[in-house]
């Protein structure tokens, strides 16, 4: 089945770089499609008065996009095919550029002979009308020529061009004023539409990511004195323009924290990592500071409006240790239990790797490598653990590789011979060797114990060595954590953050995160229904974060929590975590008691749970006891973690689940359509209004990600621009209103009798209900795509039918849920009152 995960992007100030290598306009002239060197595809909306705004960005390719083409239209749904150069054996182009292009040009204009202009390369051309040609060059110029009516090829020669001015006038169309910026050729195209609503459009894309449009008049004429006329630029736009225009949307995820910290302005996040087990977001900044915050709360504070309270009380910690930019972060415990859960590694521009205690914020050790900025931090593969428990690999920008032993706090080996950037790192556990593959396909083999270079191989031998190790590794470790870049991309999710910087964006890693998360859930680790995925872009420091929501998981959690709330007395725990929760339950009770005895917990928000508030405390103004109890708890965790993996830290709280659900609902609800609904949502459902429009996205099964860009359909959180949308939104929002009215009517009597605390009950239930609807719709949308995919095997479609059955089986649950709502409500409210 195709699963798609809804995502919300939190951009930074700078737009992701987009060096256009291919450009195309769809037939309806409403969409421009561009492919970039980074491998992303960007869709731009072209309005009927030729205004450009960016619309969506698609992550799918890892290599540069070379070509875009229209596919056949299925039921008016345009499809676009894109091609990249990612093969091992790319076909070489058999003739030089200049020759080829000129030849093309000749082919085009059957009438005339070659037109040679010194120093310029023709990139393409098209026939405008009878005897009129438009040609464009690779440096972004274009010319319209009028040919001789007689069509005599003899009469036009480049040398005579000036003599025959009456008939052949090179008609200079446009200067883009970007002469200085031609480090890479422009990509141009022309769209010739004769029908009325459409235009003749000449478009060009630049390596800088700028799109320029010229509207070519139907009858191009020269000026009266016969000199060429310049056609002005009709529209020009780039991603950064969009980001600048909507800067409330393009605010980084922790910008408000940094701003409050020093008051000078937000520090730019240069690297980040999300610890899903602890719901902690760790962001390293340009100025060397590392912020540790709670992921979900940070996201809520960033996205939701009227959250000044939450913003102010957002717990965070600042780790000061690096003197300059933090280039990479690694939380080794995340994917491998042999590392201590408190260890957090950070590498900086200053060539220092610091091992932190994430809970206390202390520096455990500082490795001074003295070999340029640290570019990557990697765990050693799982099969290497026979030798040493906690080994981390560190790649520096002088292409050296350091092996750090975290337990002993020593640098075991610093291999510094590599001439080219390091592409693969492998371990041979048998002979204790480090095998480093470089970008020039050479291989260096180091002996770890002695630190000597044992062999250096190139060419075929090198390839053989690398593949040989790869095989044995997979056999041994079953693709658990091999440190190779290749397998990083294809096999595991361990290095998703670090690898993405080299491959532009790591869309491959996305699914693998998902997949592995499913795997993890199977193997007793609880995965949060909510994940923050940091994304690094290739050329500039425009990093952004993607919030991923696991709908199924969320729904499951919410429903089970509701049921539990009715049946058992422990509303904290859901069915899902019951087995393991039993052991933690007593512990938590203990902690709670301790907190109660130690002092009062200031509730940050109406429903902040105890566990999350004692995980991280805000700086110094949080009461001390909580921190202590947190530390105590951690001590216990430390002891038990070896055996129980990440369970304690990873157990999911219902409040987190419901907060996550509310956050997602806030992002999805059509704010501003109906005031009544807005108010209802905010006051009654506790679904808060968004601070600004968010960029929604979707991660599809094949690890492809699409994200809307800031400014697309941006309506200032108020009036919706397009009537169509309004109509569609209204369908949904009407339902919301109806439902809530029903609920209100049902609950009115109850609330009257039982007092003000009861408001919690219906609120949660409605959120759950709304949410389950969304999940349900999501499932319905997903299933047919699996079924209708006819190329799939029969087996698959059968599984699709199974899904249908499941859906049908699941649906009766909702009405019944709805039906005996009041009685359940009593239980829940009672429950809430008790707690």
């Amino acid at each position: 089945m195709k699963t798609s995960v809804p995502a919300v992007a939190v951009w930074g100030r700078a737009a992701p770089s987009h060096s256009i290598t291919a450009i195309m306009v769809t037939d309806d002239q409403h969409t421009i499609v561009t492919g970039s060197q980074e491998g992303q595809i960007c869709l731009w909306y072209l309005s009927s008065d030729l205004k450009i705004s960016s619309k969506e960005i698609l992550f799918g390719h890892t290599a540069s996009v070379t070509c875009l083409a229209k596919a056949r239209e299925f039921e008016k749904q345009p499809y676009v095919v894109s091609a990249t150069e990612n093969g091992w054996e790319p076909k070489p182009i058999c003739s030089g550029f200049q020759l080829l292009k000129v030849y093309d040009y000749c082919d085009f204009s059957l009438l005339c002979t070659e037109l040679c202009e010194s120093g310029q390369c023709f990139a393409g051309g098209e026939v405008l009308a009878a005897y009129r040609l438009i040609i464009w060059t690779e440096d972004g110029h274009s010319y319209i020529y009028q040919l001789l009516n007689s069509g005599l090829s003899k009469s036009i020669y480049p040398a005579d061009g000036k003599v025959l001015k009456e008939t052949v006038y090179p008609h200079l169309l446009c200067f883009t004023g970007m002469k200085e910026n031609k480090s890479f050729p422009f990509v141009m195209g022309f769209m010739n539409e004769r029908k009325e609503p459409f235009y003749k459009v000449l478009f060009s894309g630049e390596a800088s990511g700028r799109i320029t449009l010229w509207h070519v008049p139907d009858v191009p004429v020269s000026t009266y004195d016969g000199s060429p006329k310049e056609i002005p630029i009709t529209a020009t736009w780039s991603l950064q323009d969009n980001f600048d225009q909507h800067h409330s949307m393009s605010e980084g995820i922790i910008d408000h924290l940094c701003a409050s910290e020093d008051g000078i302005g937000a520090a730019v996040v240069s690297s980040s990592v999300y610890l899903s087990g602890l719901d902690k977001l760790v962001c390293g900044c340009e100025n060397g500071k590392i912020f540790v915050t709670l992921g979900l709360k940070t996201a809520r504070a960033r996205l939701l409006g009227n959250m000044s309270l939450l913003k102010d009380t957002l717990p965070y910690k600042v780790l000061n240790g690096h003197s300059s930019r933090v280039t990479c972060l690694l939380y080794p415990h995340d994917k491998s239990v042999r590392f201590d859960p408190s260890w957090l590694l950070s590498g900086g521009q200053d060539s220092v790797v610091i091992c932190w205690d994430i809970f206390t914020g202390d520096i455990l050790h500082q490795f001074n490598l003295q070999s340029g900025p640290v570019t990557e931090l990697l765990r050693s593969p799982e099969n290497y653990r026979v030798k040493d428990q906690s080994i981390v690999c560190c790649v520096c920008s002088d292409h050296s590789v350091a092996i750090l032993h975290l337990q002993k706090r020593v640098c075991l080996l610093h291999a510094r011979k590599h001439l080219f950037p390091v592409k693969k790192i492998k371990f041979d556990p048998v002979e204790n060797l480090l095998i480093v593959g470089c970008e020039d396909n050479s291989v260096y083999i180091w002996e770890i114990e002695t630190g000597t270079l044992e062999r250096h191989e190139t060419g075929e031998t090198a390839r053989a060595i690398l593949t040989a190790i790869e095989d044995s590794e997979y056999l041994v470790a079953d693709a658990l954590l091999p440190v190779s870049q290749e397998s990083k991309r294809s096999k595991n999710s361990g290095y998703k953050h670090s690898s993405s910087c080299k491959h532009g964006m790591g869309p491959y890693n996305l699914t693998h995160t998902e997949k592995s998360s499913h795997k993890l859930t199977d193997t007793s680790c609880i995965q949060q229904p909510f994940t923050i995925l940091p994304v690094k872009t290739k050329w500039n420091s425009a990093n952004f974060h993607i919030l991923l929501f696991d709908l199924e998981k969320l729904e499951e959690l919410l429903l089970s929590s509701q049921l539990n709330g009715v049946k058992s007395s422990k509303s904290f725990h859901n069915q899902y975590s019951l087995e393991r929760a039993k052991s933690t339950a007593e512990k938590r009770a203990l902690t709670l008691k301790r907190i109660k005895t130690a002092g009062s917990i200031p509730p940050v928000d109406g429903q902040v749970d105890a566990t999350s508030s004692n995980q991280i405390c805000r700086g110094n103004d949080a009461p001390r006891p909580i921190e202590e109890s947190g530390a105590m708890k951690r001590q216990k965790k430390k002891k038990s973690s070896r055996k129980k993996k990440m369970q304690t830290s990873g157990s999911i709280d219902v409040n987190i689940a419901s907060d996550t659900a509310k956050l997602l609902l806030s992002c999805l609800l059509p704010w501003g359509v109906d005031k009544e609904i807005d108010n209802l949502c905010v006051r009654h459902l506790d679904i808060l209004r968004l601070q600004c429009q968010v960029s929604l996205g979707l991660v599809s099964d094949e690890s492809h990600l699409s994200l809307t860009l800031p400014g697309w359909n941006c309506t200032d959180c108020g009036v919706l621009g397009e009537h169509q949308n309004k109509h569609i939104f209204n369908l949904f929002s009407r339902r919301v209103l109806d439902l809530s009215n029903k609920y209100l009517a049902a609950t009115e009597g109850q609330t009257g009798r039982e007092g003000p605390e009861n408001v919690y009950g219906p609120r949660d239930l409605e959120t759950v209900f709304l949410f389950s609807r969304i999940a349900f719709i999501n499932r319905i949308i997903n299933v047919p795509s699996a079924v209708t995919d006819e190329s799939e095997s029969a087996q698959k479609s059968e599984s699709g039918h199974d899904k249908w059955r499941n859906v049908e089986a699941a649906t009766p649950a909702f009405p019944s849920f709805h039906g005996d709502f009041p009685s359940r409500l009593c239980g829940v409210t009672y429950q809430d009152g008790n707690n």
Binding site: P92, C94, F97, E180, P185, A207, S208, D440, R463
Partner: protein, 190 residues
């Protein structure tokens, strides 16, 4: 055989021509701008170097890594067919460049009878097939019985490879030097 080698110069030229085209593209990328063009940003240079290095390494790979062919592919290739008079049906010829060497491989074949009890396992793609490799071609099954290999060192190919390596290293050094300054860039490349 000498005549054959001469005739297959065209085939050999394909590999060299490929490499040459890549080099031409690299040169084109470098010569693409005005003589007095000034680079504005470091990332601009890095991008250019990436593109150039891609072409250079492809060109080098053309020469260093010969294509791995399956036996049926060799049998159907023009190399085997271009001989006049034609080769005996039990002879296959492959001709390629490996590093600085021109290599000629002659495979002597042995027809496998359909009734044979030997279990037939077709060989995969390889640069050099060993005796005993089996394949099916034109509804007939064959087994390689003998392999003869002749190598000839071409000095200028060696030079070419060295130059490729040196140029790649130069590009990489330029990249390294630029990225030293990357921490001082105030990011806004364009």
């Amino acid at each position: 055989m000498m005549a054959a080698a001469m005739a297959s110069a065209a085939e050999r030229a394909v590999l060299i021509q490929d490499a040459r085209n890549h080099v031409n593209q690299a040169i084109y990328l470098l010569m693409n701008r005005d003589v007095n063009y000034q680079f504005k940003t470091g990332s601009e240079v890095l991008k250019l170097m990436d593109a150039v290095m891609l072409q250079l390494s492809r060109a080098r790979n053309r020469l260093t890594t010969p294509a791995t062919l399956t036996l049926p592919e060799i049998a159907s290739s023009g190399l085997t067919k271009m001989f006049t008079p034609a080769l005996p049906p039990d002879i296959l010829v492959n001709f390629y460049i490996n590093l600085n060497k021109l290599c000629l491989t002659v495979y002597q074949l042995h027809v496998l009878q359909p009734s044979t009890t030997k279990n037939f396992k077709p060989a995969g793609g390889s640069i050099l097939h060993n005796p005993g490799a089996m394949f099916e071609f034109g509804s007939q099954r064959y087994e390689v019985s003998h392999v003869h290999k002749v190598e000839c060192v071409v000095p200028w190919l060696n030079d070419a490879l060295v130059f490729f390596t040196v140029s790649l290293q130069l590009c990489q050094q330029l990249k390294d030097k630029i990225s030293v300054f990357s921490s001082y860039w105030n990011y806004r490349p364009y």
